[in-house]
Every structure is written in structure tokens, then in C-alpha cells.
């Protein structure tokens, strides 16, 4: 199916006209770099948060009820539409939002801070969107780990922290790479979150593509921009994949 989609997309590329226009325009390059940067950052942060949460809930939390609560808290927002979720964030991050209320209440700042309608807002929104994905992948891998290795590390004098870093995290390598790929791709193709939480002022490639498609109704250029984004991102993902497999733990039959 993916093949069909792809071939269809290249069908639009009847001439290089749109590409010439695209590649010659600095603006696209600037936005491309910004998109990749934002996606990279959000993917990375979301993985840190999601993995930590998964670790805490699967290894440190003993109470089943609390584990369930974490699961629900992490996964439920995933099911509400991106628009609605972004609106929710406005309540938290807004100038009258919870965080500003807390900071002002504590006297840490005098005037409300700008927590959204800028890149920060976009990152927060994307991270929130992506954390459940990282959480799901991470908890699957964490639960499949052989705990005797953790015991061995503790036995050899590794503290909980060092064991986490040197045993648990490396053993989750595959899942982390997978998670990063997914989250990076999700972030780069996401349009609603940057639009709402960036206040329409943090342009990303997905937004440009959306505008070109839906407002300008120029499907050819839209596809061309999509391909323009596609190529570098694909290179990133492919490199990750190759890296992941190359450094995979050898098995007997290798």
C-alpha cells in the first residue's frame, strides 16, 4: 500500500518546475531546518519522559492500582483529537494558565511568562502528543527484559542509577531507536499542534504543505514540498535503522 501511495505522489512530479521554485527559495530551507530541529527536540524529550515514566511504572511502582493510573493518565490524552488537546494546553500554558498562576502565586515572576505561541509552546505540545507513543514502546521492552541481568549488575556493585544507565537503557536500545523514529516522523508531519500552540507564528513544513494543499489548492507544489521534506527525513531514519542493526547484539547464529 505504501508503494502505491508513494508512486501516486511522484505522479505529481510531472515536471521539475515546482522543484526549481522550491529549491531556489531560501525560505523553504529555513523552515525545513526549523522543522527538523523542533521535531528532533520534541522526539528526544518525549522519549526521555516516556521512557522514564515507563521505567518508573514497570520497575519502581509496586502498587498495581498506581501503575494502572499512570497507564491511564499517559494513554488517555492520546485519544482526544489533536485540536482539542492543543486547546487544553492553552489552559495550562496560557497567560492566565495554571503554570503562570503557580509562578506568580509563588512570587517567582511578576508578569505572566510567554509559555506558548512560540517555539516553547510547540515543543511542549509535541512532547505531550508524543510521550504516550514513547511510553508504549518503552514499557513493552522494559517488561521483556531479563531481570537477572539487573540483579547481576547490582551484585557487581552498580547502584540503581548506574544499573539503569549501563544495563537497562542499553538493553532498550532497539526500542529507543524505534521510538525515536516514530516520534520524529510524527513530529515532522504534525500540523495542528504547531499551528495552535505556535500561535500560527512558528511555521513548520507540515503547515506549509497543508496551506499549499488546502488553501492554495496547489497539489503539485504541495507534493513537491512533501518530497522535499521526505528526502532528508528518510535519510535520517534510514541511518538510524542501519545504525540500530549494525550495533545489534550478536547472536549465536551470526
Amino acid at each position: 500500500m505504501a508503494v502505491v501511495v508513494q508512486s501516486l505522489i511522484s505522479d505529481h512530479r510531472l515536471s521539475f518546475h515546482w522543484y526549481e521554485q522550491l529549491l531556489g527559495e531560501d525560505y523553504y530551507w529555513i523552515v525545513l531546518v526549523r522543522s527538523i530541529w523542533l521535531s528532533f527536540l520534541s522526539a528526544a524529550i518525549s522519549i526521555i519522559v516516556g521512557y522514564s515514566l515507563a521505567y518508573i511504572s514497570s520497575r519502581l511502582v509496586v502498587s498495581r492500582a498506581l501503575r494502572k493510573l499512570i497507564l491511564i493518565a499517559v494513554l488517555t490524552p492520546l485519544f482526544t483529537s489533536a485540536v482539542v488537546r492543543a486547546f487544553g494546553w492553552q489552559i495550562v500554558l496560557g497567560s492566565d494558565g495554571i503554570i503562570n498562576d503557580i509562578f506568580i502565586g509563588l512570587g517567582l515572576v511578576d508578569a505572566p511568562m510567554r509559555l506558548m505561541f512560540n517555539q516553547l509552546g510547540v515543543i511542549v505540545g509535541l512532547v505531550h502528543f508524543l510521550v504516550p507513543f514513547a511510553y508504549l514502546t518503552s514499557s513493552a521492552t522494559l517488561q521483556s527484559h531479563d531481570l537477572s541481568l539487573v540483579r547481576a549488575a547490582r551484585d557487581l556493585g552498580g547502584g540503581p542509577w548506574s544499573t539503569f544507565w549501563r544495563i537497562t537503557v542499553p538493553l532498550s536500545r532497539t526500542a529507543l531507536i524505534a521510538s525515536f523514529s516514530i516520534n520524529f516522523a510524527l513530529a515532522i508531519s504534525s500540523y495542528v499542534v504547531p499551528a495552535v500552540l505556535g500561535g500560527g507564528r512558528v511555521k513548520v513544513m507540515a503547515a506549509l504543505i497543508y496551506e499549499t494543499f488546502s488553501v492554495d489548492l496547489n497539489w503539485q507544489l504541495g507534493s513537491a514540498i512533501a518530497v522535499f521534506v521526505f528526502v532528508p527525513v528518510m535519510i535520517v531514519l534510514f541511518s538510524l535503522e542501519v545504525l540500530g542493526r549494525k550495533t545489534a547484539i550478536p547472536t549465536r547464529s551470526d
Binding site: 540483579r151 549488575a153 556493585g157
Partner: protein, 331 residues
């Protein structure tokens, strides 16, 4: 049960009797549901495994699959913040000790079972812990290498002064290496003592059986003055009759298979001599195993192999004799 500093204590017991569980409690992975655990006089309960001066050689090896052999062995030293420059040498020495120096850069999955076990050993020993727990550390090794490693472990034990708690399923290994042996049965210590005392004076059928004496016969009556017991109508002379003093009920006599000699005619100078019919025989290398039917049951006999013909014919009738001192009476 207390273990002295620098002692070499072996835990012996049937599969599933709780040996690994005991080690896990000492190492700090399981909490005992009752009882105390004192190390150097202070309670170790609730102390995290990494805070206990104890290292373990795990029965299942538990090598880190994502690290090379070298990194696996270096792990403990790194955690102890050894100077970077000193680590490689220590690692190499310890790998050489287990004959695995050439494999330093492989990954665990690329090694054979026995090789992995040796790495697990090197990884624990290199840390020179105060207490070393070894869970069947030589189980996957061939006899030759096992002998060699036994000597090596005994050398380390003497040299470093570490306390060893050693789980093995190999009686001989336990006998050779240990200062004391604890025989476990269903999680309970059946007998604790020196190798000699366990071998010579097992306190129960279980211990006797487990220490390799497969001839255990329930006695019908016993006479502690005449120093004889009666088994299946046959009187057997014994030396030690202490167990009989509180009555003959539930008493049994043990005859060690390797102390029985086999002759074609009755042996006059033996304290005991019975006639029996061969049921089966097997070649064990230095020994020949014979199963013979005697009036009071089936006798296991092990005679040394001197190159003689080993084919005892089934049904052949022979005489089996042993001294009074080779038969032990237990309650």
C-alpha cells in the same frame, strides 16, 4: 548457622531444594520471610545488593549481552571506581585465570556454554569480594577443566581470604574443596560439618544417600552388645552402635559400595560375607559398578578397575564381603 570469615562452605542438596534461593537472600535479591542475616555482626537485611560486599557467580551466568567479555569483567571494577589504568590488567589476569584470555573482545552469545560460565566466574572473582557466592560455577565444564578450575578457586580462596559459599551438585567437588558442607533438604539444613564427618557419619538416610552411599537397609533388630544388626534375616556385624541405644526402631545400616569386595569364594577374614547374584554391571572407568541381589536386598558394589575383564555375567553367583567398620548404623 554461622559462616566463619574466610571459610569455604559448600551447599549440597537435590535440585530444587532451595540452594539458589539461599544465595539470593545472602546477595540481597530476596528477603527472607523470617530470620536474620548478619554480615560482620550487623544485620544486612534491607541493605541493597550493591551495598553488600558480596559477589555472585550466577547459575544462569547472567552475562550482559550488550557488552563484550572484557567489558563484562571490567564492570564491577568500574563500579568500584578503580583507576582506569589498572582495570585492563586485572581483567586480563582474571580472564587468563579461566583460560579465556583470547576471547576478550567477543560477545557472550558468541561463546559456548562452558566458556560463558567461565566468564561469569571471572567477572565475580575479579572484584575480590569479602564473600563470594558461587552457584554451580563449574557445572558446564568438562572434568579436566573443572579440576583445573577447582584448584584455581582453592588457590584464590587461600590467597584472597574471601569467604566462599559454594553451591554444587557434585559431591566430590564439595568434598575436595570445602572446609564445611551443608546438606540441604527441602530448604532445611540436614547436616552441617566437615567433609569427613559428613562422609563418615551421616546423621540421616538422606545425607548418607546424598553423599553417595546407595546401600541403605532398614534393620529388623539390633544388638548393641554383640555389635550386630539383623537385616532381612541376615546378621551384619557393625562397629558403631550408638544409634541403637535408644531402640532399633527406624534404624538403618549403611554399607558403602566402594568398601565391598567381590570374590568367587567366601572370604574368611571378612567380618561380613554374603553370597549374591549379579543383576547388572557397568564400566565406570576407574571403577566397575555391580548390582547384586543378596538375601536382604539389592547391593550396590563398586570395585576398582585394574584392567580385568569387566563383563560380569548376569546371574553369576559371587561373594560380597566387608568389614564391620564399613557398615554404619543410623537412626
Amino acid at each position: 548457622m554461622s559462616i566463619k570469615e574466610g571459610e569455604f562452605l559448600s551447599l549440597l542438596g537435590p535440585s530444587g531444594c532451595g540452594k539458589t534461593t539461599i544465595l539470593r537472600m545472602i546477595a540481597g535479591f530476596d528477603e527472607p520471610s523470617s530470620g536474620e542475616l548478619l554480615i560482620d555482626g550487623s544485620s544486612a537485611l534491607g541493605k541493597a545488593p550493591d551495598k553488600r560486599p558480596i559477589n555472585t557467580v550466577f547459575q544462569s551466568y547472567a552475562l550482559f549481552p550488550h557488552m563484550t567479555i572484557k567489558e563484562n569483567v571490567a564492570y564491577g571494577l568500574r563500579r568500584k571506581r578503580w583507576a582506569k589504568s589498572r582495570i585492563p590488567q586485572a581483567v586480563q589476569d582474571s580472564l587468563d585465570m579461566v583460560n579465556m584470555g583470547a576471547y576478550a573482545d567477543r560477545y557472550p552469545a558468541q561463546l559456548s556454554g562452558g566458556q560463558q560460565q567461565r566468564i561469569a566466574l571471572a567477572r565475580a572473582v575479579v572484584n575480590e569480594p569479602r564473600v563470594l557466592l558461587l552457584d554451580e560455577p563449574l557445572g558446564a565444564l568438562d572434568l579436566k577443566l573443572r579440576k583445573q578450575m577447582q584448584l584455581e578457586l582453592m588457590r584464590i580462596h587461600r590467597q584472597v581470604g574471601t569467604t566462599f559459599i559454594y553451591v554444587t551438585h557434585d559431591q566430590e567437588e564439595a568434598l575436595v574443596m570445602s572446609d564445611r558442607i551443608a546438606v540441604l533438604n527441602g530448604g532445611i539444613v540436614e547436616q552441617l560439618g566437615s567433609p569427613r564427618s559428613l562422609y563418615d557419619s551421616p546423621r540421616s538416610r538422606f545425607v548418607a544417600d546424598f553423599m553417595g552411599s546407595s546401600n541403605i537397609f532398614e534393620i529388623d533388630s539390633g544388638d548393641s552388645k554383640a555389635k550386630t544388626v539383623s537385616v532381612g534375616g541376615v546378621d551384619i556385624s557393625v562397629q558403631n552402635t550408638e544409634a541403637l541405644e535408644s531402640g532399633t526402631d527406624n534404624c538403618a545400616v549403611i554399607i558403602r559400595p566402594e568398601r565391598i569386595s567381590v570374590t568367587t569364594g567366601a572370604k574368611a577374614d571378612a567380618d561380613n560375607c554374603v553370597r549374591g547374584r549379579i543383576v547388572e554391571s557397568a564400566f565406570l572407568g576407574p571403577m566397575i559398578l555391580i548390582l547384586a541381589e543378596v538375601p536382604f536386598g539389592t547391593l550396590n558394589v563398586k570395585i576398582p578397575y585394574y584392567g580385568q575383564d569387566t563383563d560380569f555375567e548376569q546371574g553369576e553367583e559371587l561373594y560380597f564381603s566387608w568389614q564391620a567398620s564399613d557398615a554404619i548404623v543410623i537412626k
